[in-house]
């Protein structure tokens, strides 16, 4: 059905279609609408699921872990401080090889207290073994959430997936949304190591130095396999529902001399900047990074690169910029912009490109040459 909806509503609609057996969540701005809407579906009977209103995010993830290993599909949503409060359980979910899906509505961290968009919250969970995808439209929030269950539950992956959407600038904006009858796109949940009361086993036992690393390697092997699984699932999704996605979304990149790399809504707005720059004769393109874990292989040879980081790793630099540098060997122009919801328009993005200084870093609004 075609309607208009907010990013948060789109995630809730996808969860309704995916029919998890258990949803455990704790509200936090700007994510709250997701779990409110899901709670509403459960109350009205639109979704036959157990909704557990826990007392904290740590408990939300713990409940998802228990339910997931118990043999049912699970979902939770959070933001910012809520995500950080889960941190220990986030590692556990990945180590336990549990295909939990979580929406994280990206939001800055206090102090100062700030409820607006930033990616530092999700990047702080970068090394946990979760897959991370960042979406740029309301439709993509729906589509990526649906696909997240399929990817996570694939036996070649069996890792949790975090679907990231920008706080307010996507979570609360209204765009068109096509919801689907998903049919058998999501097969019944099957966890090979689910609890079996006929065959009792221990979970999370002591694992010594002679074996622990094998489990870590197994996570990485699955992360590597996940690239193929993601491509397969996105391809099948395109065949069934007509919307195609990839590890990146490229716009006018084929003949581009300079490519803007950003995540989320900045990555969409950058396309407008690219059109403006092309009108001026600057051969610009946009590459919106969708998957951050596993990190895609990027072909940027022969191009200049402008990276917009809505995050920062203090004492080092923008997380995306140093990822691009490490992956491609290219020294990007690193722009730190949009922290805590700082207003950045397509005109600003075009200015970043016009004033680019490869190898340098600029904080938008702080350094005067931007």
């Amino acid at each position: 059905m075609l309607t208009i909806a907010t990013g948060n509503r789109a995630v809730a609609e996808a969860v309704k279609a995916a029919k998890p057996g258990v949803i455990a969540a704790y509200p936090i701005t700007p994510q709250t609408e997701i779990v409110e809407q899901i709670a509403d579906y459960v109350t009205t009977g639109d979704l036959d699921s157990r909704y557990i209103p826990v007392e904290s995010e740590h408990s939300a993830m713990a409940a998802c872990i228990g339910a997931s290993v118990g043999g049912v599909r699970t979902f939770t949503a959070t933001s910012s401080h809520g995500l950080l409060y889960m941190h220990e359980m986030i590692h556990w979910a990945a180590g336990g090889r549990l295909p939990i899906v979580m929406a994280n509505v990206n939001r800055a961290l206090g102090p100062g207290w700030n409820t607006w968009a930033e990616h530092t919250d999700a990047f702080s969970q970068r090394d946990t073994g979760w897959l991370q995808v960042y979406v740029g439209t309301v439709q993509e929030a729906y589509d990526a959430t649906l696909m997240a269950f399929r990817i996570a539950e694939d036996e070649r992956v069996l890792l949790p997936v975090m679907v990231n959407l920008d706080g307010f600038s996507l979570s609360h904006i209204t765009q068109s949304l096509e919801t689907e009858e998903i049919g058998d796109f999501l097969p019944p949940y099957h966890l090979p190591h689910a609890i079996d009361t006929e065959n009792p086993r221990g979970y999370g036992p002591m694992t010594g130095p002679d074996n622990y690393y094998r489990f870590r390697w197994d996570i990485e092997r699955s992360m590597r396999d996940a690239r193929d699984v993601i491509a397969e699932v996105e391809s099948e999704f395109a065949d069934r529902f007509g919307r195609s996605y990839g590890p990146t979304e490229e716009y006018r990149c084929e003949d581009a001399d300079v490519v803007v790399i950003a995540l989320g809504t900045f990555g969409k707005e950058a396309e407008v900047a690219v059109d403006r720059l092309r009108d001026e004769g600057i051969r610009a393109g946009s590459m919106r990074l969708r998957w951050f874990r596993p990190f895609p292989d990027l072909d940027l040879s022969g191009r200049e690169v402008v990276v917009i980081d809505r995050d920062y790793s203090f004492g080092f630099g923008g997380v995306v910029a140093h990822s691009i540098r490490a992956k491609t060997g290219i020294e990007p122009y690193s722009v730190i912009a949009g922290l805590g919801g700082q207003e950045v328009t397509y005109n600003d993005i075009a200015d970043f490109v016009r004033g680019r200084r490869p190898g340098e870093e600029t904080w938008f609004g702080v350094n005067d040459h931007v």
């Binding site: 700007p30 609360h172 068109s176 707005e269």
Partner: protein, 175 residues
């Protein structure tokens, strides 16, 4: 792309007005986005929300700095906020007011949305509902069609008084 900025006070329904306008434009077959700007505001504080309408998919998420249309749901805001800031040359203003307002610029429309809401007894928590009647005024101005305006209202609210108020605003709008 047609860009609309809505000024209201927290609790007056400006965010819902933006969603209704986007939905009506969408029912007209256009692409539309509604973007509330959430600040640290609370009831009574001046707030803004934005609507973009276009024939092509909309990729802009930032705030609207040069609107084609400014809607002011509470004219008293004009004492504290420069509602005309950035209004495009030849732009349009819609004021909730029974009378023309001094200091308006561009093509200025006015309609007494508060009076219309009160006449229909459309009051929630002591405040008249302005976001459904305003759609009627916008239909008269040609921003959306009247059938789509009424359809959008019916999709979001199950109370025909909202539709009657929108029709009244359609009929009473003045330049």
């Amino acid at each position: 792309m047609y860009e609309v900025r809505i000024h209201s006070r927290g609790g007056q329904g400006g965010v819902t007005a933006a969603k209704l306008l986007a939905l009506a434009a969408f029912r007209d077959g256009k692409h539309a986005t509604a973007c509330p700007f959430y600040g640290a505001e609370r009831r009574g504080a001046p707030v803004v929300s934005f609507v973009r309408i276009d024939d092509e998919p909309i990729k802009v998420y930032s705030q609207i700095h040069e609107p084609d249309l400014v809607i002011v749901l509470d004219a008293s805001i004009m004492d504290v906020v420069d509602v005309l800031e950035g209004l495009k040359d030849g732009g349009t203003v819609l004021l909730n007011s029974a009378h023309p307002v001094d200091g308006c610029r561009g093509t200025c429309y006015h309609v007494d949305l508060t009076g219309i809401a009160l006449a229909q007894n459309l009051v929630v928590a002591g405040s008249p509902i302005l976001n459904t009647p305003v759609l009627g005024a916008l239909a008269k101005m040609g921003v959306i069609t009247l059938p789509s305006a009424l359809q959008a209202i019916r999709e979001m609210f199950d109370d025909e008084r909202n539709v009657k108020a929108a029709v009244a605003a359609y009929e009473e709008l003045k330049v």
